[in-house]
C-alpha cells in the first residue's frame, strides 16, 4: 500500500523521463557530444568506474566530515543564540551575510590557506550546511510553547529538565527540516569545493571530464552526485521517522487525504 502510494509514482515518472531522454538522444541528431544517451552515460560510468569509485569515496569523506562539523557548529550556535538574546541580535545578520559569500572567490582562498586535500572542501561543505542547521535549530528552540514550560516549572522542574523535556523535543521537527536541507546541499557543496580548489573527488572528475569534452562522463558525475544527495536525504528522513514517530504518525493527515480535504 505504502509502496504503491509513495514509491511507485516517482519511479514511474523517472522511467518516463529516461525513456523520453533516450528517444530525444537517439533521434534528435544532437550527437553524443551534446546529449549523450542514457546507455552512453552508463557505459562511461562503467569504463571509468575505478576513478569514479575513488572520487565518490573522497567526496563522501569530505561531505560527512563537513556535515558533522556543520552539525556541531549549527546546533552550538543555535544554543548560544537561544541562551543569549544579545548574541542573537549580533549574530543573525552575520549568519545571513555568511550565505552571500561568493563561493567562487572563497574556494581558491581556502585552498591557499589550507592547501590541497580535504580541508578546503570540508570548509566549503561547512559553509554551505551550517546555515540551514543554525536557523532551523534556533527557530525550533524559539518555537517551544511558553505555557508548557510554565507547566513544567509549576511541577517543580529544573531548567535542565525543561530543556530536556520540552525545549529539545519541540525543536526537533524544525531541526530535521534543516538537516534535510543541509544534507541535500552537502554533496554538491563538496563537488564545488573540489572543482574550484582542484582537489580530488567528484568535483575534479567533473572538471577533468569537462576539459576533455567527455559529456557522457559529466552526465555520469552529475547523476552520481544526485544519487548520493538523495541517498543522504532518505537516510535523514529514515532517522527522522524513527526519532519523531509522533510527528510522522500523521494518522489525521491520512484521514484527511482519504476524505479528499487536501
Amino acid at each position: 500500500m505504502k509502496w504503491r502510494r509513495d514509491v511507485a509514482p516517482p519511479l514511474v515518472l523517472v522511467a518516463v523521463l529516461v525513456l523520453g531522454w533516450f528517444f530525444v538522444a537517439r533521434w534528435s541528431g544532437l550527437g553524443s557530444f551534446v546529449l549523450p544517451s542514457p546507455g552512453g552515460v552508463l557505459r562511461a560510468a562503467w569504463e571509468t568506474r575505478g576513478l569514479l569509485l575513488e572520487a565518490i569515496g573522497t567526496t563522501m569523506l569530505a561531505t560527512v566530515i563537513g556535515l558533522a562539523l556543520a552539525l556541531a557548529a549549527g546546533v552550538g550556535l543555535a544554543a548560544v543564540v537561544d541562551f543569549w538574546p544579545l548574541a542573537r541580535r549580533a549574530l543573525y545578520p552575520l549568519l545571513v551575510v555568511s550565505q552571500t559569500i561568493q563561493i567562487l572567490a572563497i574556494a581558491p582562498i581556502l585552498v591557499i590557506w589550507f592547501g590541497f586535500g580535504l580541508a578546503p572542501t570540508v570548509s566549503i561543505v561547512v559553509l554551505f550546511c551550517f546555515f540551514p542547521l543554525t536557523i532551523s535549530t534556533a527557530d525550533g528552540l524559539a518555537s517551544s510553547d511558553p505555557e508548557s514550560i510554565a507547566l513544567l516549572r509549576a511541577m517543580g522542574a529544573r531548567r535542565t529538565q525543561v530543556w530536556r523535556m520540552v525545549r529539545v523535543p519541540s525543536a526537533l521537527p524544525s531541526f530535521f527540516t534543516g538537516l534535510r536541507m543541509a544534507v541535500t546541499y552537502s554533496v554538491v557543496a563538496a563537488t564545488i569545493g573540489e572543482w574550484v580548489g582542484g582537489s580530488p573527488g567528484l568535483g575534479l572528475y567533473l572538471l577533468r571530464s569537462k576539459n576533455s569534452l567527455a559529456t557522457d562522463q559529466v552526465f555520469a558525475a552529475m547523476f552520481v552526485t544526485s544519487l548520493l544527495s538523495v541517498a543522504l536525504f532518505l537516510l535523514v528522513r529514515g532517522i527522522e521517522r524513527v526519532v519523531l514517530p509522533w510527528y510522522h504518525s500523521s494518522q489525521r493527515q491520512e484521514q484527511w487525504e482519504g476524505q479528499g480535504i487536501y
Binding site: S148, L152, G156, Q251, R252
Partner: protein, 253 residues
Amino acid sequence: MTPRIELRHVSKTFVGSGRMVPALDDVSLKVMPGEFVTVIGASGSGKSTLFNLCVGLLDPDQGSILIDGEEPKSRLGKLGYMPQHDLLLPWRNVLDNVILPRDVQGVARSESRAEALEMFERFGLAGFERDYPSALSGGMRQRAALLRTWLTGCDTLLLDEPFGALDALTRKELQDWLLSVWQEFGRTVVFITHDVDEAVYLADRVIVLGSRPGRVVRELAVELPRPRRQGMVADPVFGSCVRELLGDLGVDT
C-alpha cells in the same frame, strides 16, 4: 486544622507596554483539607492569575501565600496544577504524558508507568495508553490532563476551567466522575469555572471574584448533600445559590 492554601491580602498588578493592569486586589482566602472549592468570576477577573500565584509561577506584589501553614521559599512543585489549556506534549503518548510530573520528580519510568496504568481505568482512559494526544477527543484530553495533575501526588489540586471547552453532555458526565474520584480519594480541589451551575453543583464553597481588579466579593457555602446528583439542580437550595451568585456577578435575575 491548618488550611491547605491560605492567601493573606494578596495583590498583583501586571505592568506591560506602559500600562498597569491590576489583576488582583487584596485577596484573602483559605482552602481547608478535603474541601471542594470553586472559584467563579467573569473573564479577566484574575482567576488564572490567582492560580499562577498559588503554584509559584508568579509572586504577589503584596501579601503572602501559605501552603500547609508555611510560607515556603518556592511554591513550585508543591501543588497539582492543571492549566486552562490541556498542554499535553504532542511527542509523548498518553501514558508518557500523564507521568510527566513523575519524570520531573525523578521517579523511574517503569515505576511511574505502572503506577499510572493502575489509574487509567478509573480515569476513563483505558485503551488509549499508546495514543498520541492528537488522536484524542477533547474530553479524553481533559481526562489525560487531569490524570497528569493527579499523578503529581500533591494533595491539593488546582484545576483551571477543566471542562470549559466541552459540550454540555460530556461536561456533566465528567463533573460526576470528578466528584466520585474526589470522594473516593479525599484530596483537596480548587476548581475555576465561569459557569454558575457548575460552580454550585460541584462545590462545598463558592468563591466569587469581582472584576477589574479581582477581589473576593463573596464566599457562599453550598448546603446540598453529597453525593451530588444531576437531579439536584431542581432543588430549591440549588436555585437560590445560583440566584445569589448571579446577583453577585451583576447578572439581572
